[in-house]
Symmetry: C2
Subunit: 210 residues, 2 copies
DNA sequence: TGTACATCAGTGAACGCGCGTTCACTGATGTAC
DNA sequence: TGTACATCAGTGAACGCGCGTTCACTGATGTAC
């Protein structure tokens, strides 16, 4: 194998780790399949031999895990950004829902790994029971709580947040799994779902009449 | 390999086909993973050598496809049974939703293959765009149409059916993917979701006051 | 300023594994005469 | 009623494949004296 990538200088070995993570992520996005992200494929893309990967990652699982980890961070940041800056707490929640679906559809294979994969293959850090304490979910519960405090929501915050999650997940995951179904335009579908949630879960705001 | 299974008598070779289908389905349910359903594993369970499989199935994909096919039939039958015999069309729809989730949770790995798998790996017969014309989905649209005819629903039937599907799918698939999340009791979650749909999508019936 | 040496970033070749699949075959069994 | 034969239900051994991973190594480079 001819060296396509110039060797890092002494002390800069960690550079390769970053390149490996980027390559693995690219492969995941381009091929749309976890199976295609083999150690060999990642190594080839980076321009390095397969054993080099093991200088930076204990095994394949750890590599994929770290790829997801970065994605999770971005996921949270994005939801956070889109959910803040709204005066109406219900609007903030709807904006978060929109952002959730949007992000999932932008990174379908990441979403698949994070939320559609087999539970027993999921990296430890993202095990189901930990998710509820993850900052993203906590933020959602917080946003829901604001609606509760404003007297705009019926049930308790944790339960309503769970419900919201299942609904937005439904849209996201089904669009990912069945992209060729005769869907209405995505924006229309999303707005209808959010409208349904709003009518079904929220009481009218102060400036509306019941 | 010692013959664990007595050879079928002449003319009864098709018997093995049935046994293979049953074994493959059992493996799918027990291991909970499509990957575990290898030709070798199926053959071993039946008590036959791997090449025997190829007397009845062209390749591995066809075998898995036929396993799903049978499951789809049962899926449809179950929904049909649970959805019929209701005087109120909205109640009929809610019963179908309940049955949908219940069935998915009873056969999680089948559900995974049918509705959570990669679109390009899905057997031809269940490709996304065909699904909309599948009898199960048509039946759902029909049930929704009855609600429309009774003046109980806002939007058009096809769109409302799609919406209902995404919502029930959300509950089912997330419970399958994240079984250890601190969910409320399943029945509670399901009823809350269906209530939300009812309040968000339906107008009150004639004997209720708006 | 020169040289020996430890360190670091990678390489090259090979390992065992389980997989789907193929191919030539065997031996029991029903059927024709 | 007996026998030759075609057919059918499977077997046994092997194929090539790509995979994750290991192990002994190489050669450039910074550092100590």
């Amino acid at each position: 194998m001819s060296p396509e990538r110039p060797r890092s200088r002494r002390g800069e070995g960690a550079q390769l780790k970053e390149e490996i993570l980027v390559a693995a992520e690219e492969l995941l996005l381009e091929t749309g399949s976890e199976d295609e992200v083999s150690i060999r494929a990642v190594a080839e893309r980076v321009g390095v031999t397969p054993p080099s990967i093991y200088r930076h990652f204990a095994d394949k699982g750890t590599l994929l895990f770290e790829v997801c980890d970065r994605q999770f961070d971005r996921f949270h940041e994005y939801l956070d950004a889109k959910g803040s800056g709204h005066s109406d707490p219900v609007e903030a929640l709807k904006a978060t829902g929109r952002a959730y679906i949007e992000f999932g559809l932008s990174y379908p294979e990441h979403y698949r790994i994070m939320f559609m994969g087999r539970s027993d293959l999921t990296p430890q850090q993202y095990e189901d029971h930990v998710l509820a304490e993850h900052e993203s979910f906590m933020a959602l519960v917080g946003s829901v709580q604001e609606c509760v405090d404003a007297g705009r929501i019926r049930t308790d915050a944790m339960e309503a947040a769970t419900l919201l999650w299942t609904v937005t997940h439904g849209v996201t995951s089904l669009l990912i799994a069945k992209p060729n179904f005769p869907w209405p335009p995505v924006e229309v579908l999303v707005e209808h779902v959010l409208d349904m949630v709003e009518h079904g879960l929220f009481t009218p705001g102060p400036d509306e009449t019941g």
